[in-house]
């Protein structure tokens, strides 16, 4: 599923690079080679590899298998059969719980799992889009959890305490959710911009602050349900809830449509808007972006506000869509899951959407798997983290499956600026020497610098520019502040100017 999305970009890049390299190598063998060494293949294999590793885990913790393994050398087939049963029953339950329940008696029952997947994926997709946007701006937003909590908090207050007509109320709650998250996110952006504090530490710390704050407020009349002693809010007014999307028997609601709209918005923002261009420029090389007249400081704040706003929207989708009340666990592990989703989707909104669907399916199916076969849902975390590890290190996957390593030109377009900032830079420099040509300044390389090519142009640009990687040498405490960079830059510009005069 996700592979279709992720292949899109590299393949476009691939066609470009093959056009650039030589004219004679256009045989079918090289096409096969392109496919086998492409990112799509790596994604598919990474998922496969992760499922295999998890299968081994399931086998070696399965009691039937361990019993049969005790007499493995006398009757090996018993152990193998037990292993096969353990894995297939677990993965079949995973499938039945996430996509299609072929054991159900009614049509509704058959498609119920798919709607569950979409329901679970809704907040995951939205928050992951936010994380992806921050990644593209060169910021590691680990604080999705806190921002989501803030969004949910704001949404709940306005959803519980106000009485408004149907449409307006929902819209207000939605905006408030976004505002809440944006507020908490921009605190990080502002602190980073003005003091140079590192966003990883700030966001981790602010997560804990947000969790404690929401717990506190859920014990005060501000949010706590009347007459309750537990930290749970009142149910949101019906006017503040997302209506069901395909009937009352499913949990799937209009929140999913919002997730699709958010994906479109994120795509538009990153690849079609001026702000998106500036964000990516800052992410690729803050110094270069500043030289080009982009205010790095305000871009940090903007990126974190947008990122936080989407996380807040995810929190709102959670309370207005599925949960209908606010509790302390509203953000769960969404904040960290979102990071893995954003990485799997390679910080590309369309990729993130499908990666979110995949992880939503894993979560929804994981519940069924735990109930029906007793394999704990925690295995889903293992699958997720292995997928991301493998995806982040394509050479490893290629080595395991003995796939051809891509050529230098290919590496240049496919190296992910987020996960492998320096690799991208290195690949770019090797290309330059291999070609024997020097790179013209960014933007002049491609055939068309029009907006239609923005996406792949950006990839190439990032690879070019990121000789200083997006997060160039972050000591996790403080960066050179924007001010400092600015002064430095001023001096440099002056110096350059004088040099020219001389």
């Amino acid at each position: 599923m996700s592979s279709t999305a992720t292949t899109e970009r590299p393949e476009r890049g691939a066609s470009r690079s093959s056009a650039q390299t030589t004219s004679g190598a256009g045989s079918s063998g090289s096409v096969m080679r392109e496919i086998m060494s492409g990112n799509g293949m790596v994604t598919v294999l990474a998922i496969l590899l992760s499922l295999i590793i998890s299968a081994l885990l399931i086998i070696f913790t399965n009691q039937d298998f361990l019993d049969a393994a005790a007499y493995f050398f006398s009757r090996p087939m018993d152990a193998l059969a037990a292993a096969w049963t353990a894995v297939t029953s677990a993965y079949a339950a995973l499938f039945r719980g996430s996509i299609f329940n072929y054991e159900a008696s009614s049509v509704t029952g058959m498609f119920h799992p798919l709607t569950e997947t979409l329901t679970v994926a809704t907040p995951l997709i939205i928050i992951s889009l936010g994380i992806a946007i921050s990644f593209r701006a060169g910021l590691f937003n680990i604080g999705g959890q806190g921002q989501m909590i803030f969004g949910a908090m704001f949404a709940t207050w306005f959803g519980v305490h106000l009485q408004l007509p149907a449409g307006i109320h929902l819209l207000l709650v939605l905006i408030m959710g976004i505002l809440g998250g944006a507020l908490w996110g921009s605190v990080v952006g502002a602190l980073k911009a003005w003091t140079g504090a590192h966003e990883v530490i700030l966001t981790i710390m602010l997560n804990y602050v947000a969790i404690n704050l929401v717990t506190y407020l859920l014990y005060t009349p501000v949010l706590q349900a009347e007459g309750s002693t537990n930290p749970v809010s009142d149910a949101l007014e019906p006017t503040a809830l997302f209506p069901p999307l395909i009937g009352d028997s499913f949990r799937l609601n209009w929140g999913f449509v919002v997730a699709i709209l958010a994906t479109v918005f994120a795509w538009w923002l990153l690849s079609r808007s001026t702000i998106g261009f500036r964000l990516r420029a800052v992410g690729a090389n803050p110094t270069a972006a500043r030289t080009a007249g982009i205010s790095v400081r305000s871009m940090y704040i903007t990126a974190m506000a947008i990122s936080g706003g989407l996380a807040g929207l995810a929190g709102m989708a959670q309370v207005s869509g599925t949960e209908k009340v606010l509790n302390t666990d509203v953000a769960g592990s969404f904040g960290f899951d979102a990071i893995t989703v954003a990485l799997l989707g390679r910080s590309n909104p369309i990729g993130v959407f499908f990666a979110g669907l995949l992880f939503g399916a894993l979560r929804a199916g994981g519940v069924t798997m735990q109930v029906e076969t007793g394999v704990p849902i925690d295995i889903v975390l293992v699958v997720q983290s292995f997928i991301v590890l493998f995806i982040a290190a394509p050479p490893l996957v290629r080595t395991i499956f003995r796939l051809p390593q891509p050529g230098a030109l290919k590496a240049r377009t496919s190296a992910d600026p987020v996960t492998q900032p320096l690799a991208a830079g290195v690949a770019a420099s090797t290309t330059a020497t291999a070609d024997g040509t020097t790179h013209a300044p960014a933007g002049a390389t491609g055939d068309g610098a029009g907006l239609a090519d923005a996406e792949e142009e950006a990839t190439a640009d990032e690879a070019d520019v990121s000789s200083t990687p997006p997060d160039s040498g972050p000591p996790l405490g403080s960066h050179p502040t924007a001010e400092e960079v600015h002064q430095d830059e001023d001096a440099r510009r002056r110096a350059a100017g004088e040099g020219e005069q001389l």
Partner: protein, 437 residues
């Protein structure tokens, strides 16, 4: 593009001296004075104007102790004023220093933090229902809570000094806690458990090292993912293997504390320094060894060179990648020991995600302590103290909601990272993979 950048660099080198006047050389950072001012204001509003008027009593020794020290009685209002005035003085000093282009000294920040803690303690105990607190117990309890943090932060210092950001401390702690519990239960020997914890920590580090050094994956990302991986693995194994067999696999035998006679009777510091488990004593050794090793040996110089400027280190013949591998693995071993502390000393058995974010706090301690083992040690102590204070105050009955007490260490870290740490920089190359050209 990279060529252009270097070209600009070389052009700007020569004319710079003429282009810059002396004033432009000084970059003033007002963060620290501003943070000082904010906290002084807090101190004025809370500790003095909002003081309860009662006296806070700090008991230091119990009647049974060999050496008896009288209780410390602090009347809230006068103490509040004295502390606020001292803080105000430090703030003014900081403003003057910065306006003259100097930085605020580290000891000034430390003194300020100490005053803040003292002021807060007197105020909060004074306004509690029960205004008497056993100070020795409070501090000893803080130490117990701080031990894993200290181990974790040492792991952070060690790997960041070599240029690898270690977000995976949390995972290393958790892996250590899990394996220590299992192996100690099976073998009935806490030593075997400790060894297993070290191995587990190193294994997590191997992944961190291979992915970040060999495959050049962004170090923050590997760290985050490894945390998720370890949390998933241990939780999975806990549910499938440990929970059904908890008597054989999850009832570790523990380290007992070794009390050094006479010395352990010294008030306040006695129990902290001389009544610890093997892990407690080991912690002091590691902190001392790391401090001396990093700053007073040839090895330390090389490690820091690799963390600051790998290319330069490579040029003079230091093996950059090997140094990084070794340091990251050592860091894993140390963090693994810290994890063992959870299951071999402080709790009776392993439970799901029992490290509960301590690895991240340890990371904050690394930064708070300016990548210095001694600094990180005291920063971790401060976090342990804040956590323990939260428990103690819940018993005393304070006006501050427990959630705010729980929030405090995190808020302080945010302020510290944004302000107090000021111009301190981490190892310049931390986070950047190194590739030979």
């Amino acid at each position: 593009m990279s060529h252009t950048v270097t070209a600009t660099d070389s052009r700007s080198e020569t004319p710079r001296p003429q282009a810059q006047t002396p004033e432009q050389d000084v970059v003033r950072h007002w963060n620290t004075p501003i943070v000082f001012a904010v906290f002084t204001l807090v101190s004025l509003l809370l500790f003095t104007l909002n003081a309860s008027g009662k006296s806070a009593t700090f008991r230091i020794s119990t009647p049974n102790d060999a050496v008896h020290i009288p209780d410390l009685v602090a009347p809230t209002v006068p103490v509040g004023w004295v502390i606020t005035l001292l803080m105000a003085a430090l703030t003014v000093w900081a403003f003057v220093s910065v306006s003259r282009g100097r930085n605020v000294a580290g000891w000034q920040a430390a003194l300020f933090a100490l005053l803040l803690v003292a002021g807060f303690l007197v105020w909060v105990v004074g306004s509690a229902q029960n205004t008497s607190v056993f100070l020795t117990g409070l501090i000893a309890g803080s130490f117990v809570l701080a031990v894993p943090l200290i181990f974790g932060s040492m792991a952070g210092v060690l790997s960041e000094r070599a240029g690898v950001v270690n977000i995976a401390i949390e995972g290393q702690l958790l892996a250590g806690a899990f394996t220590a519990a299992v192996v100690s239960s099976i073998t009935d020997s806490p030593w075997a458990g400790l060894l297993a914890a070290v191995v587990a920590g190193v294994l997590v580090s191997v992944l961190l090292a291979v992915f970040s050094i060999k495959y050049l994956v962004n170090q923050v990302i590997v760290g985050v993912v490894l945390n998720v991986l370890v949390a998933g693995l241990t939780s999975f194994l806990f549910s499938t293997v440990l929970a059904p067999n908890s008597s054989t696999l999850n009832s570790p035998s523990h380290f007992t504390s070794i009390r050094i006679p006479v010395l352990a009777d010294i008030p306040i510091i006695g129990p902290i320094l001389f009544d610890q488990t093997v892990l407690g004593y080991g912690m002091y050794l590691i902190v001392a060894a790391l401090y001396i090793g990093l700053f007073h040996t040839k090895w330390g110089l090389r490690v820091r060179a690799v963390g600051e400027h790998p290319k330069a280190a490579d040029t003079v013949g230091i093996k950059v990648l090997r140094t990084r591998y070794i340091n990251v693995l050592l860091a894993g071993a140390i963090a693994g020991m810290g994890g063992a502390f959870f299951t071999l000393v402080s709790s009776s058995s392993f439970s799901k995600e029992m490290t509960a974010g301590q690895g991240f706090i340890a990371l904050a301690a690394v930064i708070f302590g300016r990548w210095n083992p001694i600094g990180a040690f005291f920063a971790a102590l401060l976090f342990g103290f804040a956590t323990n204070l939260q428990y103690v105050l819940a018993i005393l009955g304070t006006p501050v909601p427990s959630q705010f007490m729980a929030m405090l260490p995190y808020l302080v870290t945010v302020f510290a990272v944004a302000g107090l740490v000021g111009r301190s920089r981490g190892p310049a190359a931390a986070g950047t993979p190194y590739t030979k050209e």
